[in-house]
Every structure is written in structure tokens, then in C-alpha cells.
Subunit: 188 residues, 2 copies
């Protein structure tokens, strides 16, 4: 078994990664370490900065961390890397209000997830997954979390919050970034 730290407070993410990596002899160990997330425009930079933080701390195992966000084209990419903060302040109602006069064809958005892998020697690898879709005009569904009730992935007539977890996990941004990470790790 190869031990791999997953630095996150989110048990759901750990469960998803554990399932995917178990066949390749990885033992995921959740570590709820906080780390500084910087203000910047890309998730890649946030993740890279997080990895460097743990390199400076001389972390004793290889590790992964993940950052995600939703980028709404009509709002110039807002809320982007600040998706979590905006969810807890403006909420989905705030987003819908900002999008009130935006026509259907301009309601495009991307959910994006970045997994970062760090070694104990100071190496960094990033794995990006995106999911294209549109922002609905009202909240639909109660599954999932965050922006799921207002995001309808391309090719579906349901929001993420109306899809079953296994359906969502086939097309979601995080499923894609995780898949790339798994492909990388299984050959190591």
C-alpha cells in the first residue's frame, strides 16, 4: 500500500478519491490541515500555492489537495476562485439576481476542478477537469451541494442537484480531474 495524504476537510471528496485509487494500491489518509488560499484569478494558482505551503512545511508523505469553482461567462468569470465565499454571502439567489436579464444563450458557465499532487521532494503536478453547462433561471433539485441547483451540464435536461450522484460523477468537473490524477498515479 502506498500512503497518500488528501488535505481537505471534505469527507465526500475523500470517499470519492479512495474508491478510485483503491484498485491501484493507494491508501488515502485524510488530513484536515488548513492552508492559505491566495486571491488570484485561477484555481491552478491557488492549488500551486497550497502545495508550496506544504513543501515549505516539509510534509512527510506525498499528498493531494483540490480546489474547485464555477466561472460564469456573463459575470466575467465571477465567482470563480471565490465560489465558496460567494455561496455563503450572496447565495444562489444573489447569483440568479445578477443573471436576471441574461438571455438563455448567454448563460454559459464552467465548473472547474483542479487536483494538485505534491511529492516530498518538492514536485508539483496539476490535473484539471471542467464541465460546461448553463446557469438555470431558478433553483432546481436538492441533491449535491453548492451551486448544483442552478447548474445544468451540457447534454442534460437536469441540474447537478437533480442528477443521481453516480450520474453526476460521470460528467462532473471533479470526476474528470480525479480521473486524470488516477491515470497519473497508477503508472507511478
Amino acid at each position: 500500500m502506498k500512503n497518500l495524504y488528501f488535505i481537505t476537510s471534505n469527507n465526500g471528496k475523500v470517499h470519492e478519491a479512495t474508491e478510485k485509487l483503491k484498485p491501484f494500491d493507494y491508501n488515502i489518509i485524510q488530513k484536515d490541515y488548513g492552508y492559505p488560499e491566495i486571491q488570484t484569478e485561477t484555481l491552478e494558482e491557488v492549488a500551486r500555492f497550497g502545495v508550496k505551503h506544504f513543501h515549505q512545511k516539509k510534509i512527510d508523505h506525498p499528498f493531494i489537495l483540490e480546489d474547485a469553482g464555477i466561472f460564469i461567462d456573463a459575470l466575467k468569470g465571477f465567482p470563480g476562485v471565490y465560489s465558496s465565499y460567494v455561496y455563503f454571502t450572496l447565495g444562489l439567489d444573489g447569483i440568479l439576481r445578477l443573471m436576471k436579464d441574461v438571455t438563455n444563450e448567454k448563460r454559459t458557465a464552467q465548473f472547474k476542478s483542479v487536483f494538485a499532487y505534491g511529492t516530498t521532494q518538492g514536485d508539483i503536478q496539476l490535473f484539471v477537469g471542467t464541465c460546461e453547462g448553463i446557469i438555470t433561471k431558478k433553483k432546481q433539485g436538492s441533491k449535491g451541494f453548492g451551486y448544483d441547483p442552478i447548474f445544468k451540464p451540457t447534454g442534460f435536461d437536469k441540474t447537478f442537484a437533480e442528477l443521481e450522484t453516480n450520474e453526476k460523477n460521470k460528467v462532473s468537473h471533479r470526476a474528470k480531474s480525479l480521473e486524470k490524477l488516477v491515470t497519473f498515479l497508477k503508472d507511478k
Copy 2:
């Protein structure tokens, strides 16, 4: 003359600090060094993290930096530490849209500024200034920058963007934090 670095890309801020500190024999040297700003809820933490960054870099002179933001009560403190990002994505129209149904008495907001002073030995001092006011229902005035056209300070019937610079500088958040910094520095 005591040399003091002001780490900022904003010439206006440098001018204001230079004027206030000249009588006390300080020579302000602008340094346009970038530094990581973290995602957090308070300007104090952003400023403190910035100072630590330069301490780690073994900066060779005492230095100051400043961070500011507007905290709107009806939006749970949004945009707060992300004021600059939100200004360039949602803009003032976005803020006004979010506030559309908010009644006059609930349109309260605080402009806040934090000056941080760092020594070459690793000390940190913070100086906070706030300015209470309300968010107007439409943009008024063309002076100043950022949120000035929609912020009316308490006791005035004009927005920051309608006030003359010298009037604004009597009551502004930055004037207050700078005043505290000056008081501290002149006795050093």
C-alpha cells in the same frame, strides 16, 4: 531621514502617505512588489500575511502596505476583502442590482482600511480605519475610484465620488488608518 518602503502599485496612496509623514522626517520609497493576498474574511489577516511574506524574504528596510475594502451589511459583508475583484467583475451595477430591494435603513456599509507596518526584525503593527455610510440607489459623482460613486459617508449628503479629495480625506477610512500609522511612527 528615515527610509520607509511603501509596498504598493498605487501612486495616489504613496502621495497621501508621503505628505503626512514628511513632517516627521520619513522618506517614503515606493516599491511595486507583488505579494500573495490570502482568501480570508478580514483585511487584517490579508495584511498580516503580506507582512510575513516580506519578513520571510528578509526585506532590508522597515515597510508599510495597505489593504482596503467595503463591507455591505445586507450582503453579509460582501464584497469585503474581495472588493477589487468584484469591482472588476460585477462592477457597481452588479452591487446595485444585488441591493435593489434593500430598503434605505438596511443599506448600511463600512469602508475599511488596514495599514500594516513591518520591521526588519519581524515585528508587525496594524492600524485600522473605518468609515460608516450607506450604499446609494444609483451611481453619483465621478471623482475618486472604485466604490466611491455608490458610498455616501454618514453625515454627508454626497457620495465619496461627489466630495472633493480634501473633504474625502478628512473622513475616509484610509485617512483614519493613515493617521493612526503616523501617530505611531512619529514617536518612534
